[in-house]
C-alpha cells in the first residue's frame, strides 16, 4: 500500500513539474498579476461608483434626471441608433465582398478598413470640421442653404460613424473567410436566389459574430469622446453626449454629478462585457458541437 503510493507519487510528480511551475511560484505569479489588475483596472472601476454615491443616493439620482443629463442620454442613444446600423450594413457588405471572392488589392482594402482605428479621435473630428465647418470645403454652400453639420447633431453622428467604422467588418471578415463558400454554392445549385442564400444560409452562420461586432460598435459609439468633442461645440441640452456631459460637470467641480453620469456609462460598459462573454461562450459551444458532429477531436 505504502509502496504503491510511493510509486504513483514518484511517477506523477516529475511529469507535473515539467509543464508548470512550483505551487509557490504559481501563487506568486497569480498574486502579481492580480495586483497589477487591481491597481490599474479594478480600482478605477470601483472608484467610479464610490465617487458617484459618496454624496448619497439623492444627489446621485438628481444628477441623472437633470434635464441636461436626460438630453445627453437621448442624443447618445440617437447617435448609436444611427451609427451602428450604418456600419452594420457596411460590415456585412464588405465582409461578403472580401470573404467570398478573390480579387486584386484585397489586402489593401482590408488595411483601409482598419484606418479609423489608427487615426487619433481628435483628428477624426478635425477632418469633418475641414469638410463641413464654416471655413471648410462645403462650408459656404452649407451656410447658403442653412444646413448645420458642425456644432450640431449631424456632425456628432458623422464623427461617431467614423470612429466605429471598422468594428463590425473586422469581426465578420475572418469569420466568413473561415466558413468558406460551399454552403452558399450548395444553396445556389439547389435553386435559391442570391438574397435567399444570404438570408437563410449566410446570416444564420454569422449571427454570433455579427452580434459581437454590434456590441463592440455600440459600446464605442456611446462612449466616444475625442472625436465628438471636436465637432460638438458643447451646447448644453443640444449637442452634448453623455461623455461630454461628464466632462462639463467635472470641469465645473461638480464631481458627484460627473461621476453619477459616468456610472451610467460604466454600467453600460459592464453590460456590454457581459453580453460579449455570453457570445464567446455560445460560439465556443457551437464550435465544439460542430467538431463533435464531424467526429474530429478538439
Amino acid at each position: 500500500m505504502a509502496f504503491t503510493r510511493f510509486l504513483t507519487a514518484s511517477q506523477t510528480a516529475p511529469i507535473r513539474r515539467t509543464t508548470t511551475e512550483s505551487p509557490a511560484i504559481r501563487r506568486l505569479f497569480i498574486g502579481m498579476a492580480l495586483l497589477f489588475l487591481t491597481l490599474f483596472l479594478f480600482f478605477p472601476l470601483a472608484a467610479v461608483f464610490y465617487e458617484a454615491l459618496r454624496k448619497g443616493l439623492g444627489v446621485y439620482f438628481a444628477a441623472i434626471v437633470d434635464p441636461d443629463a436626460l438630453a445627453a442620454i437621448r442624443l447618445t442613444l440617437l447617435c448609436a441608433a444611427i451609427a451602428v446600423p450604418l456600419n452594420m450594413v457596411f460590415g456585412v457588405a464588405a465582409a461578403w465582398a472580401i470573404a467570398k471572392f478573390e480579387f486584386v488589392g484585397k489586402s489593401v482594402l482590408i488595411t483601409l478598413i482598419d484606418l479609423p482605428f489608427a487615426v487619433s479621435p481628435v483628428i477624426a473630428g478635425l477632418i469633418y470640421v475641414l469638410m463641413f465647418g464654416a471655413q471648410g470645403w462645403l462650408g459656404p454652400w452649407l451656410v447658403a442653404h442653412d444646413i448645420k453639420i458642425i456644432f450640431a447633431v449631424p456632425g456628432i453622428v458623422l464623427a461617431t460613424v467614423f470612429v466605429t467604422f471598422p468594428f463590425i467588418a473586422r469581426e465578420l471578415i475572418p469569420l466568413m473567410q473561415e466558413q468558406g463558400v460551399e454552403e452558399e454554392e450548395a444553396a445556389l445549385v439547389m435553386g435559391a436566389s442570391g438574397w435567399q442564400t444570404f438570408w437563410r444560409i449566410t446570416l444564420p452562420n454569422i449571427k454570433w459574430g455579427l452580434l459581437y461586432g454590434v456590441v463592440l460598435c455600440t459600446a464605442r459609439a456611446m462612449g466616444e469622446f475625442g472625436a465628438v468633442s471636436v465637432v460638438s461645440g458643447h451646447i448644453r441640452g443640444l449637442t452634448n453626449t453623455l461623455p461630454l456631459q461628464v466632462e462639463i460637470l467635472y470641469n465645473e467641480y461638480n464631481f458627484a454629478a460627473a461621476f453619477a453620469v459616468a456610472s451610467l456609462l460604466t454600467l453600460l460598459a459592464v453590460v456590454m462585457l457581459a453580453i460579449k462573454s455570453v457570445i464567446e461562450w455560445q460560439t465556443r459551444k457551437a464550435r465544439l458541437a460542430a467538431l463533435a458532429i464531424r467526429g474530429e477531436p478538439e
Binding site: F43, L45, A47, E102, L109, S120, V129, G223, L265
Partner: protein, 277 residues
Amino acid sequence: MPFRLKQRNVLPGFNLAMGYTLLYMCLIVLIPLSAAFIKTAGLSWADFWSIVTAPRVLASYRLTFGASLIAALINTSAGLFIAWVLVRYSFPGKRLIDALVDLPFALPTAVAGIALTALYAGNGWIGSYLALLGIKVAFTPLGIVVALIFISMPFVIRTVQPVLEDLEPEVEEAAACLGATRWQTFRRIILPAIRPALLTGFTLAFARSIGEYGSVIFIAGNLPMVSEITPLLIVTKLEQYDYRGATAIAVVMLVISFLLLLLINLLQRWSHQRYTT
C-alpha cells in the same frame, strides 16, 4: 490564364457589395481624411516645417511618444504575465477577471480619465499613499503614463493569450526531458513562439496610445511644454481657429499612424505565417 481583377465565382452580389463598400468607405473615411492632406498642401514647405517643429509642438511629440512607449513597454511585460497566469493557472474568479480585462475597450475614455484622476490625485485611494513617498502622479507626465497603461492594457493580453493557449505541451515536455530548466524552456521554446504576438500587441498598444485624448486630458494637467500631448495641442489650435496649424500637426500624426498600421499588418502576416507552419 489571362489576368483579371476578379476570379470567376458562382456567388452573386460581388458588384453590389464591393460597390457599396467602396462608396461608403470613400464618403466616410477617405474623402474626409484627404481633406487634411489637401488643406496642408496649401501651405508652403517652410510654413509647414516651422509649424510642426515649433518648440511647443516638439515638446508635445516627445511627451506623447515617450509616455506611449513607456506605457506600451509596461503593458507588454505585464500583459505577457497576465496572459500567462490566465492561460496556465486556475484560481477562483478567473473567468470573471478574464472578462473584465476588456473593460478599457468598453469603458468610455472620459470615464477612465476622471476615475484615474480621482484615484491618483493627492487625496485619492492610491495617490495619498504615493504622496507619502513624495511621488505625484495626477497632473504630471506620470499621470499620462498611468492613463495610457489603462487604455492600452488589453492589447498585449488579447494577442498573446490565444497563442499561449495553442502551444503544444509536448514541446515543453521534450525540452524538460532533454534537461532544460523551466526558465530555459520559457526563453528558448515559449518566448520565440509568442514573440510575433507580443510585438503585434506592443505595436497596437503604442499606436492606440499616441492618439489617445479623452483619458489623458483629465489626469495630465495640460501645461504647455510640460504635460501637453499632441492631440490636445491640435484641439487647442482648433479652438483658436488656427485651422492650418491644427491640420499640419494632424498630418504629421496621420503619417506616423499610417506607418504604424503598415507595421502592424506586416507583423500580423509574420505571426500568421509562423503560426500556420
